[in-house]
């Protein structure tokens, strides 16, 4: 670390964005809480929906403004290589926190499959819980739950070798296309950047379309729902949160796509681009884990 880059570390002036973001986060949380609390009651969640949407809209605008500030400062040349490293550390640790978020759900899946369900079926010295639901037999995927009237098990589960395999190919290819876009950006070949980024976004959108289609099939034809016992619960929480991350990643890709069109980024300074690419690789890796542990095995 040279003394020179230390000396130009940029400390921003006062900013209104964080406090506004806190307020809109509160509106979103309070709105979502009100909405969900009243879901089952007669009154419905009218106020909750309003608060949630208002908060989300405000948050969207705030993020545009806040990132706009950051982009302007970057264009003014206020960011030193040291600042760039702070952003890199920040993004890396954020992705690590996301890894741990998914780890909780993968851990749930492994625990349920290898311990809880076999114990319910009478295996091992903890199998006494089998006394509660005699005749329950453990299997995975769990098609018949202990209490079929409350949690009717799925009739069928998703075949991994059709849509999921296709989605795997789509997402893995999109990791390559985003890397090709990055390579092109480094060589300052901007039309190629636009092409490969566009291809990545298209692959992401097609993935999301197939995922939505798969959910529709699961709900309408297979009886695989959130209510279908622990298989449905783990299936939807893992694929659902992954799908939300792909959605967010696609939005981020669209934003840097628009920024490329506006002429942002140059061949050696483009951390915004790289951060999105890192995030995209992360959702890709999570998908490989999902394909393996949720669909195939």
């Amino acid at each position: 670390m040279s003394t020179q880059d230390y000396q130009s570390y940029y400390v921003p002036e006062q900013s209104r964005w964080p406090i506004l973001a806190s307020i809109s986060l509160f509106l979103m949380a309070f709105g979502a809480g009100t909405l969900m609390t009243n879901l089952s009651s007669e009154s419905g969640g009218g106020l909750g929906v309003v608060l949630l949407l208002a908060g989300a809209l405000a948050m969207g605008l705030i993020l545009v403004g806040w990132f706009g500030n950051v982009i302007n400062e970057s264009h003014q040349g206020l960011y030193s290589p040291q600042m760039d490293r702070s952003f890199r550390w920040g993004m890396s640790w954020f992705i690590f926190s996301e890894v741990m978020f998914f780890a909780a759900f993968f851990g749930t899946l492994f625990y349920v499959r290898t311990l809880a369900v076999p114990w319910l079926g009478g295996e091992g010295d903890k199998g006494v819980s089998n006394m509660l639901w005699q005749g329950f037999s453990a299997e995975w995927p769990l098609m018949t739950t202990p209490d079929q009237s409350t949690f009717p098990g799925p009739k069928e589960v998703i075949d991994p070798w059709h849509i999921p395999l296709l989605n795997t190919i789509l997402l893995i290819s999109s990791s390559f296309t985003v890397t090709l876009a990055h390579k092109a950006l480094k060589l300052n070949l901007r039309s190629r950047v636009v092409f490969w980024l566009g291809a990545t976004i298209a692959l992401g959108l097609v993935f999301l379309y197939f995922q939505a289609y798969e959910y529709a099939v699961a709900y309408n034809d297979l009886g695989l729902t959130l209510n279908a016992g622990i298989y449905g619960a783990t299936f939807f929480i893992l694929t659902g949160f992954h799908g939300m991350h792909v959605t967010l990643g696609t939005i981020m890709l669209i934003i840097i796509f628009l920024r490329v069109l506006k002429g942002h980024f140059n061949s050696d300074k483009h951390f915004g681009f790289e951060a999105v690419a890192w995030y995209w690789h992360f959702v890709d890796v999570v998908w490989v884990g999902l394909f393996l542990f949720v669909y195939i095995i």
Binding site: M1, T3, Y6, Q7, S8, Y9, Y10, V11, P12, E13, Q14, R16, P18, I19, S22, I23, L25, F26, A29, A32, G33, M36, T37, L39, S40, Q82, S86, W89, G90, W93, F94, F96, S97, F101, A103, A104, F105, G107, T108, Y111, V112, A116, W119, G124, K126, S129, L142, T145, P146, T150, F151, T225, L226, N227, G229, I230, G232, A233, T234, I237
Partner: protein
């Protein structure tokens, strides 16, 4: 460019309320965190006094059982997430940039956001007290199915409040790591960093690793409550014990999140007042890292009586006992630092010494609880309450007090009133022991925790504990008065503040200027 860009933009704080709402200054944000934490400390403290008042004698006198349960739940949540954690983040904000020679935190706007989420999150949580069905009443560990099937409707707001706290903690931790790894002054190598910085680096790693797991588990609760899943319901093939596993995978690193920065503070204070270098600096760093790593593989010692397989009981018992080794290294090093030192006993040192002694008592009772077969007797009794209050009150809270007294003259340029500080210390020290020591006895005798009424034979010790709690609680007002009068006026402090102080933060004037290091200091 010879100074930071910031320094050319603005030299001092902005005026009015805007200074606090829009600030990007690590000292302002540190101050906000510390005051917020103190307000939460008093709020959670009032709840504790209500609990103790109800337990002053057997029978129901003041409050009904359901409200009692709401109080124990809210007391725990507020003290953990609202008082102890923000206090440490506040100290980190104030001290880490000064200790490593940085101009500010690495990501100053995000720093502001991390703080300002907290008042909103806690407002939402406190609002649940006034909602239909009352506040969460399932204990701060919110075990399923108490927190799912049998929860009051306000549980949904509680879940979103926890999400907000998690977002705040993760962003705060990312900022601290980025600052420590990237903003150190030239020459400040990792193994030259003050121990407070080291312990915070490791704590921040723990926070980023486990707060998302907490977010995951409350999300699964939310799904079970509102969207028909069966994660924690055996009727659908799930398992309520799964909740406990995930919760404690977060929960055990969490308790080290609340104690590692305390280790750091004490490791700063004892060398200063013993006028010796810290004994075994490198071993302190390695011990901290070992404790952090071990914290990921001991979680099920909170669940010995839930029905784990024998192999699990044994593994978690031995892994837990292993933590005593690095912790022992630390206690040994603190004692060895004091050995043949020229010690003086100013208030920070008194709190630090009390920390070493009383935290060790809490550590030993923890070792007793780690023994799986005897834990069957101790589990869910007041012995557990005594144990974790010994590590959290004369542990974490005393260290925070010690740090506050130690750095107050650096923050506001004046010394606090030493006599009043000592009175505060002795009242707290006596109050804490009167409150929590008898809990060991009633716990061993079988009094369960989280009950508003109890059998007659526990009456005497409960009455004693209540008296102690009120002594401890009200003596914190001395602290409040002392801090406020120190901010207003007091004996002018020099840059070094303390005779034996070492480190970059003592090279800048007291009070520390709004921007401490416009140009990076050289560290030899």
């Amino acid at each position: 460019m010879n100074s930071t860009v910031a320094a050319t933009h603005h030299h001092g704080p902005a005026s009015g309320i805007g200074r606090w709402l829009f600030t990007t200054n690590h000292k302002d944000i540190g101050t906000l965190y510390l005051w917020f934490s103190f307000i939460m400390f008093l709020t959670g403290g009032c709840m504790a006094l209500l609990i103790r008042a109800e337990l002053f004698q057997p029978g129901l006198q003041l409050i009904q059982p359901d409200f009692f349960n709401q109080m124990t739940t809210m007391h725990g949540l507020i003290m953990v997430f609202g008082a102890v954690m923000p206090a440490f983040v506040g100290l980190a904000n104030w001290m880490i940039p000064m200790m490593v020679g940085a101009p500010d935190m690495a990501l100053p706007r995000m720093n502001n956001w991390s703080f300002w989420i907290l008042p909103f999150a806690f407002s939402m949580m406190l609002l649940t007290l006034f909602m239909e069905g009352g506040a969460p009443n399932f204990g701060w560990t919110f075990y399923a199915p108490l927190s799912t099937t049998y929860a009051p409707p306000s549980v949904t707001y509680f879940i979103f409040a926890v999400h907000m706290m998690g977002i705040s903690s993760i962003m705060g931790a990312i900022n601290i790591i980025a600052t420590i790894l990237n903003l150190r002054a030239p020459g400040m190598t990792l193994m030259k960093m003050p121990l407070f910085v080291w312990t915070w680096l490791i704590t921040a790693f723990l926070l980023i690793a486990v707060m998302p797991v907490l977010a995951g588990v409350v999300t699964m609760m939310l799904m079970d409550i509102h969207f028909g899943t069966s994660f924690f319901n055996a009727a659908g093939g799930g398992d309520p014990v799964l909740f406990q596993h995930i919760f404690w995978f977060f929960g055990h690193p969490e308790v080290y999140i609340m104690i590692l920065p305390a280790f750091g503070i004490v490791s700063e204070i004892i060398p200063t007042f013993a006028r010796k270098r810290l004994f075994g600096y490198a071993s302190m760093v390695y011990a901290t890292a070992s404790i952090a790593i071990l914290s990921f593989v001991v979680w099920a010692h909170h669940m010995f009586t839930v029905g784990l397989p024998l192999a699990g009981e044994l593994f978690f018992m031995f892994a837990t006992m292993l933590i005593a080794v690095p912790t022992g290294v630390k206690v040994f090093n603190w004692v060895a630092t004091m050995f043949r030192g020229s010690m003086t006993f100013e208030t920070p040192m008194l709190f630090a010494l009390a920390f070493v002694v009383l935290f060790t008592i809490g550590g030993f009772s923890g070792l007793m609880l780690a023994i799986a077969p005897v834990d069957f007797q101790y589990h869910d009794t007041y012995f557990v309450v005594a144990h974790f209050h010994y590590v959290l009150v004369p542990g974490a809270v005393f260290a925070i007090m010690a740090g506050a007294y130690y750095w107050l003259p650096k923050w506001c340029g004046n010394y606090y009133n030493e006599t009043m500080g000592k009175v505060h210390f002795w009242c707290s020290f006596i109050g804490v022991n009167i409150t929590f020591f008898p809990m060991h006895f009633i716990g061993l005798a079988g009094m369960p925790r989280r009950i508003p009424d109890y059998a007659l034979q526990f009456a005497d010790f409960n009455a004693v504990a209540t008296v102690g709690a009120f002594i401890f609680g009200f003596s914190q007002l001395i602290f409040l008065y002392n801090v406020i009068s120190c901010i207003r006026k007091g004996k002018q402090a020099s840059a070094e503040v303390w005779e034996g102080s070492h480190g970059l933060e003592w090279t800048i004037p007291s009070p520390a200027p709004y921007h401490s290091f416009s140009e990076p200091p050289q560290v030899k």
